[in-house]
Symmetry: C2
């Protein structure tokens, strides 16, 4: 990369950081817990959100921002579950940026507890962009292989929690969840690890409890 490119990239990241800080402050003030979901394409982010709706409904209100390069498909899936969802189509860009989130926030209802942001499916670029979230979760699906954390370290280093997904497929795969978790923990100690099958429901209660606890902490801190 040329010096010029690096300077422009640094400028872009600094501008993004400022916008993200303002978003975080605003969401804390409103008592909304924002969670940024990062992963490869097809790791199961939307299916995880669908399963979370079933765990949280009746007790907490959710809203979802969907990031994709093209199509409204993921937002439509979330809306079909009765949850307000906004689709951001980046039209080619490989990640969401804070300013894109900022444009949607005014439409998020005041009584929402959780704002989940599903990033563009990409295990590389989204890791560099703070969206003003309180928690960042990286998903790794069992078919992707247990060797991925060391190959894509920034996503794991920048995350607060690792969600190993599609574990119903483990019997048919050369995938060791313990190995994947250990490798991720060697990159980021203290990472909270969850093992789920969103389709079967395994591990979803523990993950929902983690988000509810984090919401409680956010509101205690803001009280």
């Amino acid at each position: 990369m040329s010096t010029k490119t690096i300077l422009v990239q640094a400028d872009l990241l600094a501008t993004n950081k400022q916008a993200a800080a303002a978003i975080r402050q605003g969401l804390r003030g409103r008592g909304i817990l924002a969670v940024n979901l990062l992963s490869s394409p097809g790791s199961g982010k939307t299916t995880l959100l669908e399963a979370l709706v079933d765990r949280l409904k009746g007790r907490h209100r959710m809203a979802v921002i969907e990031g994709d390069i093209e199509t409204e498909r993921d937002a439509e899936r979330i809306r079909a579950k009765g949850i307000p969802a906004w689709q951001i189509t980046t039209g080619g860009a490989c990640h969401l940026e804070a300013r894109m989130i900022g444009k949607v926030l005014g439409d998020v209802p005041a009584d929402v507890d959780f704002l989940f942001i599903e990033n563009v499916g990409n295990l590389v670029c989204p890791a560099s962009f703070d969206l003003g979230e309180e928690l960042r979760c990286v998903l790794l699906s069992s078919p992707e292989g247990d060797d991925k954390p060391a190959k894509y370290p920034q996503a794991f280093l920048s995350a607060d929690c690792l969600i190993l997904t599609k574990t119903d497929l483990v019997p048919y795969l050369p995938f060791d969840p313990a190995k994947a978790a250990a490798e991720a923990l060697s990159i980021k100690s203290g990472l909270r690890v969850f093992t789920v099958s969103a389709l079967r429901g395994d591990g979803m209660d523990e993950l929902a409890a983690f988000f509810i606890e984090a919401l409680g902490r956010l509101r205690s801190a803001g009280a």
Copy 2:
């Protein structure tokens, strides 16, 4: 994106295009068929290459360039099969560029028939960078879902061939190979579609034959 960022990106792509054209000309002159493999992380690029070694050995010579953000793991897997392999670690960058390939080409033995380039696992950014390849193949693994072509159109639009991988998992998944192929063909008509299980060997003979035919055409054109 700011105007400045767009201008720098355009400059980077123009420089890359020039380097790629020189690489393509050089490889054609040497009678080497270069294939650029693009996909999400964990779609099975390295496993596909391992299976191709078994199909091509004794008849053709292969060499492999591996692109990853970090680790030498993939090159080590290919070398373990007796194939010369060079690992390019991008140190954070989300795609390979032609100049990175150019630095390795002098080391590729003169009697090589096929040069496979495994790009960084990313279904977005690598699609914008020509590496001087003759053929570009995009992989889509069955666990990723049949809705991916429309969500990540540039990768499919820029490819010559689509390889649906991990089809041994189809019985356990909500994945329809015909739907994935139809959606990809609606984006890029004329795309050659292959359906494989590299682990079981299904479809690998057809894919190897496709590459051998392309090599024959390259050499006829250069004769």
